[in-house]
């Protein structure tokens, strides 16, 4: 972190994805045929299968018709690839051989899959000790090259088609077993498997009901790719004379025969060779396209790191972009006007941030609160320029530390923001590189941005870790992130931000993953840093009490807009928007009345893809009137620093006779 450009691979767009983790499974499989490559693979594979069925019916007799007058002939109009040593047509033989070649490959794949499934799921069913033995056995088997195993099994099972199927099948089983083991272990770690166990569901039933359905997709994909390689293995074995024996013939056998007369008639080897190539390619491409469509990582695929992008200058909208009243202050570190963040969606564009305007003064602490999906994190990421290429950022003004982010920027801006803007994320584990020592990661920032030497940068790292109250910093810099506790990692993360001399710290849910006790330490630390160096702080949280503890001012966001901007001290007493009041009342404190139900906010947050006309909160609001449902209230000030977007700001909210304020049971 610290360097805004320092973090690649951060899942920048986490907020909208949290709102809907819908797999949309059916359409994902359909996605295979949507790419040209996938479509070609599907068509090719289907053609192969059809050929495998019909070719022997149509041409079996012709393909074995011996013509002693015309042996080893070259290509001609009658025999496109010539004839073999008994005068049989090679093209026809290649076509007829499709059934046996494909059949053998599928048979071997079936053996590999079944044996792999049995071995791979055994650890789950057998319990810890026996399971460990199976895992060890599979690990040893995986260490042998597949071809070596295939040759070994071919010798064991004897020469011939059956032996070859068993050989290739068993040779493919270990790697499949390993894959299944890994996938099963991943699913078995989920709480729903634990929950089924607690409910008394047996292990076999858990396997069938919970585990297998959840690993089916990657298994199918890998089986398809496996079938492609099995096909090649067969060609190899038959070519070596270990596979199919005469009079039966598959592509490998034809290739073997064709190579014998290579100098007389190259086409005799070319035809079956091309068939092997085409079929192998079709199966592999099908597997790869399916993997891409259903989101299974296949080795060798590069992910594209998100590039930083420049915010486009938005044309000023008529209406609700009244500037933050303090935007005229001379010492602004952040001036955001009418910020919009959009993403391309299936039907056009969704806009999770819809016109956010605020400013932050030097040394000021501003909290941004809202539910998941309110756009609070996206706002922060847009300011830090951490959104990926898909995000479409528009703003009338987006000034960060004096840099106009809507203007084209160069190396100097990167450098400036890299040292003076620090970002702290929710999950400190995933923000550190697990394989590099903490000290080296901190030092890298100083070396990259401040041009310090190795020794100097490391000294600075020790100093900064001490500054974030990590004891024994000298020793700690030599440790890896996993050796730090959660709270300590988060403090180290903040320490990384302090490697430069930040003027602005943006902390996105910095304490959500932490315990209350540790949370307090981290918040105190942020507070201390702010006090010591007059650093501005933007603190994002879903918990209004956390923000109230630390900040001077609180922005409440709902459905991509700021609905209220008020002094933190006024949260419990002078909040005027019904949403803010509900948020405050929803959190139990040590003074909450135990005889009453907690306040809840009925309904669900607004889906960014389906923002209603009028005030977005109207559907959940006890004060909503017809005007609210028709007209969106602007964020308007009252002359003080307090701004609110509500037609009924501050109106009393009826308490129903049951004594439940605001609302009762969440509607479903």
């Amino acid at each position: 972190m610290a360097g805004v450009d320092g973090i690649a691979g951060v899942d920048a767009v986490s907020d909208p994805s949290r709102a809907g983790r819908d797999p949309r499974r059916a359409s994902r499989w359909a996605g295979v045929v949507r790419t040209p490559l996938g479509l070609a693979a599907v068509v090719l594979t289907l053609a192969l299968l059809v050929l495998a069925v019909v070719a022997p019916m149509l041409w079996s007799a012709d393909a074995s018709a011996v013509d002693t007058d015309d042996i080893l002939a070259g290509p001609s109009a009658e025999h496109w690839a010539g004839t073999d040593n008994l005068g049989r047509d090679i093209v026809l033989r290649t076509l007829v051989a499709t059934r046996l070649s494909i059949g053998l490959a599928l048979g071997a794949t079936a053996i590999a899959v079944v044996v792999g499934l049995v071995l791979g799921t055994a650890p789950l069913l057998l319990g810890r000790r026996a399971g460990r033995a199976v895992v060890a056995g599979v690990n040893v088997a995986v260490a042998f090259p597949g071809l070596l195993l295939a040759l070994f099994f071919a010798v064991v099972f004897g020469v011939g088609a059956t032996g070859a199927v068993l050989a290739v099948g068993f040779a493919g089983a270990p790697s499949f077993a390993r894959l299944v083991q890994t996938l099963v272990a991943g699913v078995a770690a989920h709480d729903y498997v634990s929950a089924a166990r607690v409910a008394g569901v047996g292990e076999l039933r858990i396997l069938v009901r919970h585990v297998l359905p959840n690993i089916a997709e990657p298994l199918i994909v890998n089986a398809t790719i496996g079938a492609g390689s099995a096909l090649l293995s067969f060609a190899g074995l038959s070519f070596l004379g270990l596979g199919v024996q005469a009079p039966a013939y598959d592509w490998g056998r034809l290739l073997f025969e064709g190579v014998g007369s290579l100098y007389v008639n190259p086409a005799a080897a070319f035809a079956p060779g091309a068939a092997v190539l085409l079929a192998g390619l079709a199966l592999n491409l099908l597997g790869e396209s399916a993997a891409k469509a259903v989101g299974v990582a296949s080795p060798g695929e590069l992910s594209v790191a998100p590039r930083r992008r420049r915010a486009a200058r938005a044309t000023p909208l008529p209406g609700p972009a009244e500037p933050d009243p303090q935007a005229d202050a001379p010492d602004l570190v952040l001036d955001v006007r009418d910020l919009h963040v959009g993403f391309p969606a299936r039907d056009g564009r969704v806009e999770p941030v819809r016109g956010v305007t605020f400013a932050v003064r030097r040394g000021e602490a501003v909290g941004i609160v809202g539910e998941s999906g309110s756009g609070k994190s996206l706002t922060a990421l847009a300011v830090a320029q951490l959104l990926d290429d898909l995000a479409d950022v528009r703003a009338e003004r987006l000034d960060v530390l004096g840099e106009d982010l809507t203007a084209p920027g160069g190396e100097s801006r990167r450098h400036h923001l890299g040292t003076s803007l620090a970002m702290v994320f929710q999950d400190p584990m995933s923000s550190f590189n697990p394989t590099t020592r903490v000290g080296a990661q901190l030092a890298e920032v100083a070396r990259h941005h401040q041009g310090m030497g190795r020794r100097e940068a490391m000294d600075r790292a020790v100093d900064r870790l001490a500054a974030v109250r990590i004891d024994d910093a000298e020793r700690r810099v030599r440790q890896y992130p996993h050796e730090f506790s959660g709270g300590m990692r988060q403090r180290a993360m903040i320490g990384m931000g302090l490697m430069g001399s930040p003027e602005l710290v943006i902390a996105d849910e910095p304490t959500t993953a932490l315990d209350v006790t540790v949370q307090q330490q981290v918040l105190d630390l942020l507070q201390a840093i702010r006090r010591a160096d007059d650093v501005a702080l933007v603190l994002i949280s879903h918990d209004v009490t956390v923000v109230g503890d630390v900040c001077d001012r609180v922005l409440v966001m709902y459905a991509g807009r700021v609905v209220e901007d008020l002094p933190a001290t006024g949260l419990t007493t002078s909040a005027r928007h019904p949403y803010t009041r509900a948020l405050v009342a929803a959190v139990p404190t040590m003074d909450t009345d135990l005889d009453r139900p907690l306040t809840v906010i009925p309904g669900r947050p607004v889906d960014p893809a389906d923002v209603p006309v009028g005030c977005a909160y109207a559907a959940r609001c006890p004060l909503a009137s017809d005007r609210c449902r028709a007209e969106d209230p602007p964020l308007a000030g009252d002359g003080t620093a307090h701004r609110v977007a509500c037609w009924h700001a501050g109106d009393p909210i009826d308490v129903d006779p049951g004594g439940r304020p605001l609302a009762q049971v969440e509607a479903t």
Binding site: D22, Y192, T517, H542, T545, G548, L598
Partner: protein
């Protein structure tokens, strides 16, 4: 109504002792709040009660008998922390709930029971065919509660069931816990690191620190006059408790 009693329970992973001789009673029809920070062993203690963590020493008794940790009948049920991980994404919520029901129910009885449980947790019974992805976090957590109740438990263990939820949704789940507990007379072990949450649902509080219960007693007493310095630290850390303290 049943009593769940932990007697000198120890759990070890390898050489590290995670729970060290804990004795704790969940009285019949009462909610006991178990608080402590991550790594204090509170979740491990909960998992031991449902057979997900191996006992190294001591015993866990339900009405004087050892809690059955194998087989079909499981009178102690658990609700997990993360509602995104605790429901099978491929199963309808109705199927997830029905899975925990006693085996002797037939198909139509199960359907009726699923509908009853969904209404009990204030979800529309018509949504039994929905998949977890269609539900919000709070709704999923209510389905998880319904699943735990489907097993007709004597005791429910709730492990940090609101800490993965937005505070705005937390209230719904807490209200539901209190309502269910009162209506059904459930005995409950309610685990949380947030004292304000525990205070709201529990009548007894036990504080765990480094594998040991350092303080326990009636909630009102422990929270008002904590005897241990560690409990006092926890109290000071409750969000909002510093609202009075730190404004420039």
């Amino acid at each position: 109504m049943s009593e769940l009693r932990f007697e000198q329970v120890s759990v070890r992973y390898g050489r590290s002792t995670v729970v060290d001789g804990v004795s704790l009673v969940v009285p019949p029809g009462e909610v006991v709040g178990l608080v402590g920070e991550s790594g204090s062993g509170k979740s491990t203690l909960a998992r031991a009660a449902v057979g997900l963590a191996p006992l190294h020493g001591g015993s866990i008794l339900l009405d004087g008998e050892p809690v059955p940790l194998r087989g079909r009948r499981r009178p102690v049920q658990m609700v997990f922390q993360d509602p995104f991980s605790s429901l099978d994404p491929r199963m309808t919520i109705g199927a997830s709930i029905a899975e925990a029901m006693p085996r002797d129910l037939d198909r139509s009885a199960r359907r009726v029971e699923v509908a009853r449980l969904l209404e009990l947790v204030h979800l529309d019974a018509a949504r039994a065919d929905a998949r977890p992805a269609e539900l919000s976090g709070g709704q999923r957590q209510r389905v998880a509660l319904a699943r735990a109740l489907a097993a007709r438990p004597a005791v429910v263990v709730a492990d940090e069931i609101t800490s993965a939820l937005d505070v705005s949704v937390q209230g719904t789940v807490l209200n539901l816990v209190r309502e269910l507990q009162r209506e059904l007379g459930l005995s409950m072990l309610f685990i949380s690191h947030n004292l304000a949450v525990v205070r709201y649902v529990a009548s007894y509080v036990a504080v765990m620190h480094r594998g040991v219960v350092v303080e326990q007693g009636p909630a009102a007493q422990v929270l008002a006059e904590p005897a241990e310095p560690y409990t006092r630290d926890l109290l000071a850390a409750v969000p909002g408790s510093t609202l009075r303290r730190s404004h420039p």
